[in-house]
Point group: C2
């Protein structure tokens, strides 16, 4: 069923940079391509946009189809439109980035003809298309954004310890933070809700669990509060 237009049209795709956090490192989910071009190379999950879905919906759909991920934080990153970025023909790609915690979304692994896997940021293969550049852009974005918008919580389980929270920031920002100052600061913001639970199954004193209090945060923002780390 062919479609005909008066002028030549680019194909429109979405690609997703999915970040996940575990105890070692910040990781990214990649898909091994089963088809040319770049057959056998690793690439970002993504695909073409249908005409009856928004860009956001397309990103969410591709993410679920290729990696099994649902209900993760997803936000538009940047649109890549170099003329030769796809060797076959002109393809413009709207890139999104996603954040999720690796515990809950473990080895969601393979789908149809492709294998999916997590890669540490310091242990990346060279990617298909311009996906290296997209990935670099995404890393820069979350490095910047995590400091002034509380999106980092998306990388943690719903309930987390202050040490987990601190380690998450240390991994993303790539520098050490002082424990006492960090706690003073985040607790002082009033956006963490202390639960009455503690860590389970640890071989030392169990840490208290906290939860990000979204409502409190929104209330504070309305009063002019600025999250900043």
């Amino acid at each position: 069923m062919p479609y005909t237009y008066e002028y030549a049209r680019a194909a429109l795709a979405v690609d997703c940079v999915v970040f996940g956090l575990d105890d070692e490192d910040l990781k990214v989910m990649l898909i091994e391509r089963g088809q040319p071009p770049f057959k056998g190379r690793w690439a970002l999950p993504g695909g073409f946009v249908r005409l009856d879905e928004t860009l956001f919906e397309a990103a969410r759909r591709e993410l679920e189809e290729e990696t099994g991920l649902k209900r993760v934080f997803l936000e538009q990153l940047y649109t890549f439109g170099d003329v030769k970025r796809d060797p076959r023909e002109r393809v413009v790609s709207v890139a999104y980035y996603a954040l999720c915690n690796l515990r809950d979304h473990k080895v969601q692994g393979a789908t149809d003809a492709s294998a999916a896997a997590w890669f540490g940021l310091h242990d990346l293969p060279s990617l298909a298309f311009d996906h290296d550049e997209i990935l670099r852009t995404a890393v820069e974005r979350i490095r910047g954004k995590v400091r002034y918008v509380p999106i980092g919580f998306e990388l943690l389980p719903r309930k987390f310890t202050l040490t987990q929270l601190q380690k998450m920031y240390e991994k993303i920002l790539d520098r050490q933070l002082d424990k006492r100052n960090f706690r003073k600061k985040v607790l002082g913001m009033g956006i963490l809700e202390e639960t009455d639970e503690v860590q389970q199954d640890v071989a030392h004193r169990a840490a208290r669990l906290y939860r990000f209090d979204e409502l409190a945060y929104k209330r504070l923002v309305k009063q002019g509060f600025n999250f900043e780390l």
Copy 2:
């Protein structure tokens, strides 16, 4: 000359939000549409992307064709892809924003069948398509970005007084700044080069002119400096 594809394709456009600054207000350039849909309504300058140009090149080209503006600061803003954003058919638009100073780029006015004009941000008509939303997004973006990246200079003439600089920030951020503290801060950054010129043709003491020192700024950034206002 028709083009045929196996799957339906969206049309791909760019739209530009051009900001300019004068003594009164932060302004935006709009184009009066000469064609349906939205004939007679005001809209952002923009048009369709050709297959042999990048998105950035398309934005720059449309900007020049429709407003006469060349060599202005231009950066990608966001991509708008709602299914019904264009009543004719599916059009995805990659929005850019531009900054320029109104003095140098005065009434570049009309081109072909359309009239161009500057509108103060507090005196805007309702726009065609989803251009209200695009404009809102662009305003939010520069309000945020101007505080931690020195892009505000793009709105001023090459040589400017500290008062002009301060007023620029006051207009964008929509709040008053203290003169002494402002000067202390920006001069302390070491990114302003003092020229040996002063304002001309003013009916009072002439102010010293300064220039943004791009190289010094880049040098400082490499050393970990963060612009922040």
